[in-house]
């Protein structure tokens, strides 16, 4: 009976959400708590994913679904016993970066293996060069743990623990996180066993079939909203030394989408190469957002979306290419797909946005002689939607949130002097692109700070859609010398100010179609200046008959 299965489905989802909530509280890594950079999932013993917690990053959508099969291959059911826990951080098996650790626990109901429960958590440090682009191969990026037993029949694997301790800068935090993952998996495992017992069900087979069939059907139905055909799209990002082209052919046929990334740029010598799992994740994410499938992630909802990328290209990294900062490229992937489907999707599309989160890392020595290291993140504007303006200073496609100025200043000798929206930075259109933001940052460290920046869209602005204009491109420089900043490391001296102007999103539809009310609002609140209004919207403040002194 379907309704009973739906109840069980909801309980599985609740178990994963519970697991994710517990992990988020206990996690040490800032990116986990600020961005929800973690996942929690339930799988059948045969590896089909049945449920995944709704968390903050699209990058894990397929990573977990694909990773489980590697675990089963490495440790087939007959090699597993109650009390075993498996772990890996191999970028190619999971989500494309060594920091992400996947912990998988087999769940037994009596003697019988009934499920796997898995979680993925971004750990604080893995040794090596950290999260930047500097490494030229994965060997420089840190410790890689092949799929291993972290715990065997309830006993912690001492050798593995010693290997981790010997290789990472934050061994206590890492082990704290791995044990929290283990405990969370155990809790979700007992919730599953309790559910089976209370409902008198032997295993998850029938439920699994129901979840996968229902989800696949609903996803295919949503995809059928796109007319069958082959569509092409691309996006260009600044890259490190040369621009990166991401190009895709999207083939839609009777509820199935195949995305082929052939034609995209070749490998990069820097740590921005993307493993196929991660490319797959952002591809699935873009398609399911666009068609508005709103189906929980599982093997069924992922099945109608397939991906190909040329091995060795930037979107299908070949080991041992360096991958630590793969999000720099990954965050542009959805833009290419959205561009490809702009025509058939019509008003359901979204214009290009800032794409990347801008990351800046500050290192140096405080006035007390303590060394410090602090990472700031900030988002530019999102592209305009087909029925509303783009969101200003809001991350898309990532879900990472910004770091408050007061948190930065209380953690490191930094001074955030400005964080404000940039007027006229949103691309003009019937619906305006989201505005970018300006940050002005100085350091109070007497010797200055070494700053590494990961910026993009300085050269390539976010394009508009359906007649909308591009957003303003990003800019970065140092005051007072006005020396420009690109993707590099440099010293910020006391008295200097790093100015970051983040890009705005593209507009949607012709600017001439923007409503008078919206233009009045733009002008009254200063989102668009009078000058830009004349240039981009071919109208003047006088013609809008503004009474700026009046209320709302």
């Amino acid at each position: 009976m379907d309704l009973r299965l739906d109840l069980m489905w909801n309980r599985l989802l609740a178990a994963t959400n519970e697991q994710a909530a517990t992990l988020m509280r206990a996690a040490f890594s800032p990116i986990v708590r600020e961005a929800g950079d973690l996942s929690a999932c339930v799988f059948l013993p045969t590896g089909e994913m049945l449920a995944q917690a709704r968390t903050g990053t699209p990058g894990h959508i397929n990573s977990m679904a694909n990773a489980i099969h590697h675990f089963i291959e490495a440790f087939p059911p007959e090699t597993l016993a109650p009390g075993d826990v498996l772990v890996t951080n191999d970028p190619h098996l999971t989500s494309g970066q060594l920091h992400d650790h996947t912990v998988v626990t087999p769940v037994f109901h009596g003697e019988k293996l009934v499920a796997f429960v898995g979680s993925l958590c971004h750990l604080t440090d893995v040794g090596g060069r950290g999260l930047g682009i500097e490494a030229s191969s994965q060997f420089e990026e840190g410790l890689c743990i092949p799929i291993s037993k972290l715990v065997e029949r309830g006993v912690l694997n001492d050798l593995l623990v010693r290997v981790i301790r010997a290789n990472v800068r934050t061994p206590r935090e890492n082990l704290g996180d791995l044990l929290a993952q283990t405990a969370g998996n155990a809790a979700a495992g007992s919730a599953i066993v309790e559910m089976l017992e209370s409902l008198g069900v032997p295993d998850l087979t029938e439920l699994g079939r129901h979840i996968i069939e229902t989800s696949e059907k609903a996803t295919r139905a949503a995809i059928r909203k796109i007319p069958d055909g082959r569509y092409h799209g691309s996006v260009v990002s600044d890259g490190i030394e040369e621009p990166i082209l991401l190009q895709c052919a999207v083939e839609v046929c009777d509820g199935h989408v195949h995305v082929d990334w052939t034609g995209s740029s070749g490998p990069s010598p820097h740590g921005i190469n993307v493993v196929l799992n991660y490319t797959h994740a952002y591809t699935s994410y873009a398609i399911s957002c666009l068609v508005g499938a709103d189906v929980p992630n599982n093997t069924g909802s992922l099945r109608p979306i397939t991906v190909y990328a040329v091995p060795g290209s930037i979107v299908n990294a070949r080991w041992p290419a360096s991958v630590a900062a793969r999000h720099i490229v990954g965050h542009f992937l959805p833009m290419a797909i959205i561009n490809a489907l702009a025509e058939p999707m019509g008003e359901r599309g979204v214009a290009e946005g800032a794409a990347n989160i801008w990351l800046t890392q500050y290192r140096g020595t405080t006035v007390d002689g303590q060394s410090f290291s602090f990472a700031m993140s900030a988002a530019g504007g999102m592209g305009a939607r087909g029925d509303k303006d783009g969101l200003s200073a809001t991350a898309f496609p990532s879900g990472v949130m910004g770091i408050p100025a007061e948190i930065a200043e209380s953690s490191a000798p930094l001074l955030v002097l400005e964080r404000s929206l940039i007027p006229d930075s949103g691309g003009a259109g019937r619906f305006r692109g989201g505005l970018g933001q300006r940050l002005r940052i100085a350091t109070l460290a007497p010797g200055g700070a070494t700053v590494s920046v990961l910026l993009d869209r300085l050269a390539h602005a976010a394009s508009g859609l359906a007649g909308g204009r591009p957003g303003r491109s990003g800019r970065a420089w140092i005051e007072p010398s006005a020396r420009p900043v690109t993707k590099a490391s440099f010293t910020l001296r006391p008295g200097e100010v790093l100015v970051l102007e983040l890009p705005g999103g593209g507009g949607f539809g012709a600017p001439s179609e923007r409503s008078i009310e919206a233009l009045r609002g733009d002008l009254r609140e200063g989102y668009v200046t009078g000058e830009a209004m004349e240039r981009d919207y071919i109208t003047t403040p006088a013609r809008l008959i503004i009474d700026s002194a009046s209320g709302e």
């Binding site: 509280r25 405990a183 989800s215």
Partner: protein, 689 residues
Amino acid sequence: MIMAVRIGIDIGGTFTDLVLVDANTGVVAVEKLLTTPDAPEHAVLAGIDKLLRSASLAPSDVTNLMHGTTLVANSLIERKGARTALLTTEGFADVLEIGREGRYDLNDLGLELPRPLIPRRFRLGVQERMLATGEPYRPLAPGSLDCTIAECRRLSVESVAICFVNSYANGAHEAAAASRVAAALPDVFLSVSAEVSPEIREYERASTTAANAYVGPVVARYLARLSSGLRERRISAPLFVMLSSGGLASPAVAGMFPIRMLESGPAAGAILAAYLGGLEGVADMLSFDMGGTTAKACIIERGRPRTTSQMEVARVWRFKKGSGLPVNVPVVDLIEIGAGGGSIARLGRLGAIEVGPESAGAEPGPACYARGGALPTVTDADVVLGYIDADYFLGGKMTLDVGRAREALRLIADSLHLRIEAAAWWIHRVVAESMASAARVHAAERAVDLRTLPLVAFGGAGPVHAVSVARLLGSPSVIVPNSAGVGSAIGFLVAPIGFEVSRSRPSRIDAIEIAEVRRAVGEMERQAREIVVSGGVRREDVQIDYRVTARYAGQGFEIEVDLPEPVQWTRATIEERFRARYGSLHGVTVEGVPVEVATWRVVARADVHPLETHTAPTARSDALKGERTLFRQDSERMADVPVYDRYRLAPDWSSQGPLVIEERESTLVVPLVAHVRVMPGGSIMVTGL
């Protein structure tokens, strides 16, 4: 405090509930009037008149009035606040709009962010700067401030919020700016972040300060009208206002920090559950308050509702977490776990039954109200299942139309090829499942195991659904207090007078200067104590609780740790307390990682006299009213079960379910075999679920 005749007043969205208790005679009078949204004091004053008449008391007999209102929440939700300006540090005028830069639902490309309460042209930068250490970096420039004051005048604002960067560490610039604004614009309401919410994170603090300013003039006008109405009636008894933290405060304090009244009604419900649990000897429990539009739960520990300092109001996008305005004030840690009686059931896109968040409200209401509603609601399902007696709704004041309820449910039953009773049972079950899931996630986030906590149920629909929810949560028991249907208004009468002062001072524990912290906390304590004493409490009756939030360096979430008297503080004792609390919450401690403290909190409170009104019902043998047919959840079929009258149950009564116990405002439904008995304090307990 002598509290002979107390009146509790709860202004809700639909009804204004009033309860009068006379401690001398044990008289309890209850009134329920329609809320008068444009001038809420009208219903309050009319209700007081009626109460006094029915209890045959004179206005001068009233010794205390306790009051809660949804006025603040409504002003924010409906955007009906004052014309408000925000003064920020130059460069941060957009902090209210930039927010946290995240999307609360990754899969919804159409999502909307909350529109800032204060539009951009009303947000003005001032030249000044404090450092995170609290040292001034750039002095407050009087010329720049005067320009913004002139702009405020030009914009004819009624209210001004001031939030400067790092003011949680040193509020001197804010205070100086506030006094200059007050001198220049004597009629505006002032809201200063270091006073309203001196906690780190500029967006959340600005949002809280702005919301406080936005509602300030509205609340001030309302309290003035209410006071003058009371004076006209020659009621001179002190008026107390319920704060979201579950403490009562004087109108003067509430008027300065109106944002602290945000959740006053629901907080009172949790206070009541804690109090009544205490009467039965239960200190830890989960309160479960289910009304017409929502169900709320709160974890109660050691006799007190858990509190938090973070909440969200006025969610703009499909009720989703993250789509509202953050407000950081002390608040009872309530979670909205789901639908209410009026919530509408439908088939979702995957073909499963979904309930809410859309509600039929009071108008047109559920289909069985026969006021034009045609969509199936939770109440319609309960009527079809026999859980609500169509002839005894609100004690028989209203008759429900079973035929219309069945007709509405047919929509769902037909598409699923189910009988109408079966469809009703699925709706009831889906509601219970979703509430249980939400409660479990809430508990997991707080590392609480719900399987050890009795479920204390109240609100109109609470006792109808409590047993179903408790079974899913694995609760050891369900406890249903007397007069469960008007819980919040009674809650006001048992709440302590209290006020919390907090201050963020983030630091590694090994770097704090204990003497300096003691001095700062002593100052906070004096402030909190004075506020409570100003509410008419004797100085020696004030109790002080000390708490600090702490975490391992590198973690993002602090946990709250109870502290002893400051004289006993050392770095080691505070760290020890943190490690013990962390261990009991997470089951592990992390050795070798340093500990950081963030926010110090001082709560001053004075407990009021207990409510001595539970006149034990006289033993009556005719409590059994009859039988009715309802859906048994164990056999999954309709069956006849006995119906008891709550008002006639003997103090030592006990029985076996399935059964139903009716009172005027609600019905306890035990739809399966279970043990049911009256407890010493008068509540009913269901065990053996």
